[in-house]
Subunit: 411 residues, 2 copies
């Protein structure tokens, strides 16, 4: 049914993802749920590839999340297998057995240990994964893996997504050129808490797993974890970062090493781009919202206020209706539970301050705000006027499209 | 625009609210926002009436909430003035002056202190309340106050409500017959945190203000605070409970007095009825959902899990689509942040257990669940299998109607 949805009006074209030494991707149609499209993706990594991961904080995670958490202890990755259409969540012992079987299948092909295989599944929750279809399809898929398979992979992991998502950065470590490329999927059940939905990022840099993990954890906190589509945290959220070590950069032993400054900035920027691509494909989205909060008692507090605004159905429906209903922003600040004082609070939309210190700005002219609301990118500013904490969040509007998609997902 | 909305399919007829000694109600059209309907309500209470109140925990409460919080210190009420269409929220000094002026107006008419007047406003946020329209209308309104004015009052306080809401209980205190009657309004921006939207309850019992307050605080925790429409907490939430002392019941000095057992039960039951009437008028609602959680580590934890399910847009849209998508219930349990263990978790819908101890029940037959989903009242059961904590929540489904209403509220 994903193919039946019209492409999001906020979509971005897929970027040119060039071959990267040490990783090959491919996709095939295993017939897990969708007809007439690819739904199984595999990647093989060169020996010596390190890996970092962040996962959903859900108390009911999927079997593949459990598998990856355990596998991550080794810090080494040789293969990745991802299916779309069935999340392998809440499937009990059958779910665990499916992950064991498919990891063993991939390990045989890539000639590695099963614990060096990473697995991800998204789609319907509570139905047993037909893992034999995956076992049957993997050998053929493995034979087709290619350094040019990035876009095929980005398409093969989609569920209700309406466009494939990718991003690339070129940067340096200690003077050596390195590249970071990633793909992501996600459209609904998006309220990342630690990580969101699926994103797979690969760099050709040589970085030890603990360094990679530190960079990824910090980077997702400022990107995926600042986005929301519908406040619902998925059971299958996962961001994996692989480093193939083919770039030949100097050794780095510590995430704080100044040699990583440029790389860290590039990684953060790529993670944010991927996260925003997911928001751009938010179910039913017609407008992108960027909420900036300043003047909070701390950065954490500012982020929580920004997320309260981003998660408010009343703010999101107002934006969908192109209504500059700033009173609902005030409501959302008030309900966040964070320190706020009505009488020092200011609200702006599209660069125009509408309310200042607890009341509407004298002579407020709604015209430029009304014009801004008609656009695709909506900017909301809130200044709490308390201290210097800043934070931001991104989301999309809430429209009839969301109801359409989610009232009949399984049918 | 409230009048333009079709009546909720979950509506209940307004009950017969008989005259109650010590209180007179009335409503009039003050032209605050809506054309062709009443929008200003007044009540006068007999001397000796005590009062209790619970209010929104929003950090950006409306000026009338501030006013009532201060007035409540006296424990005495002689008048109530409520307007619909303008919330007098985020209106700065002008908002404060409006409450002062209208309280003084009502005090002159009721011949009482301004601090014995209670005020409530709901409607648009951030627009200055045209309080002179209220000042001008109050004398004429006061002249029409009547013991039969209950339903007029219930209609006059409506905003996006599609039906007036009232409830009545007859009970006894120490052998003396007493009555409790209440009215409420509310439809959107419903995620009570302490209290919700507006509800005004009157009893003819004689009860000191501290006793009344203890009963009300306990009662709202089990009723209004277990309901949600859209997870958005209003800036204007307020439940006031007045006791006119006309019933002649024996003196009661303590909320724990066994003489109050029957009264407490009646009050709790009435508060829950009013709260559920608000849910039945949830914006766009077509189905009522009742979520029961058992087996939690505590009652508080069970309630938070129930509310996480009730606030999940994905659960609510699935219910709207008559899709028994129990996987989304699992997702919501997982995201609640409360102690849960996938492998002891069970989920049921409409009395049929679908999943047990972390996996789907062997031979699960969806037919009775599918039939249940077509009804107006949806029952969801979750057993966490950890301990003995229980809790519940009520909400409505999320439909196109919600988007319609909230994409154009101000236009």
């Amino acid at each position: 049914m994903a193919d039946a949805l019209p492409t999001s009006p906020l979509a971005r074209p897929f970027p040119e993802l060039k071959p990267m030494a040490g990783v090959r991707f491919g996709a095939t149609a295993a017939g897990i749920r969708y007809a007439g499209r690819t739904d199984l993706v595999m990647a093989e990594f060169a020996p010596g590839t390190t890996v970092a991961g962040v996962f959903t904080r859900s108390k009911c995670p999927g079997a593949p999340v459990d598998w990856c958490r355990a596998a991550l202890a080794g810090g080494v990755a040789r293969a990745l297998v991802v299916n779309a259409g069935n999340a392998n969540v809440f499937t009990g012992r059958a779910g665990y057995e499916a992950t064991q079987a498919n990891a063993a299948d991939a390990a045989r092909l890539a000639q590695c240990a099963a614990s060096e295989v990473f697995l991800a599944s998204t789609g319907v929750i509570g139905e047993v994964l037909p893992y034999r279809k995956i076992s049957d399809a993997l050998p053929g898929l493995y034979a087709t893996l290619s350094e040019d398979g990035w876009e095929d992979a980005a398409r093969g992991i989609m569920t209700t997504d309406t466009f494939p998502k990718g991003a690339v950065r070129e940067t340096t470590i200690g003077g050596t050129k390195v590249r970071i490329q990633g793909i992501a999927k996600g459209s609904g059940m998006i309220a990342p808490d630690m990580a969101t939905m699926l994103a797979f990022v690969v760099t050709d840099a040589a970085l030890p797993a603990p360094v990679l993990q530190a960079l990824l954890s910090r980077g997702t906190e400022k990107s995926f974890n600042c986005t929301t589509v519908d406040s619902d945290t998925s059971t299958s959220d996962m961001v994996l970062l692989f480093a193939t070590a083919k770039a030949g950069n100097p050794k780095v032993a510590d995430a704080q090493d100044p040699a990583l400054a440029e790389f860290t900035q590039a990684l953060d920027s790529l993670l944010l781009e991927l996260a925003l691509l997911v928001v751009r494909d938010g179910e039913g989205a017609t407008k992108m919202m960027h909420i900036r909060v300043t003047g909070a008692t701390s950065d954490e507090s500012a982020k929580r206020v920004a997320m309260a605004i981003a998660n408010s159905p009343l703010v999101k429906t107002a934006i969908a209706g192109e209504d500059a209903n700033w009173g609902r922003v005030v409501m959302a600040v008030g309900k966040s539970g964070e320190p706020a004082n009505r009488d020092t609070l200011s609200v702006g939309i599209g660069g125009t301050w509408i309310a200042n210190n607890g009341t509407v700005v004298a002579g407020y002219d709604e015209a430029p705000v009304v014009a801004h609301m008609k656009g695709r990118e909506i900017e909301i500013d809130v200044d709490l006027g308390l201290a210097n904490g800043i934070g931001q969040a991104w989301t999309c509007d809430l429209t009839h499209g969301y109801i359409d998609i989610n009232g009949s997902y399984r049918s």
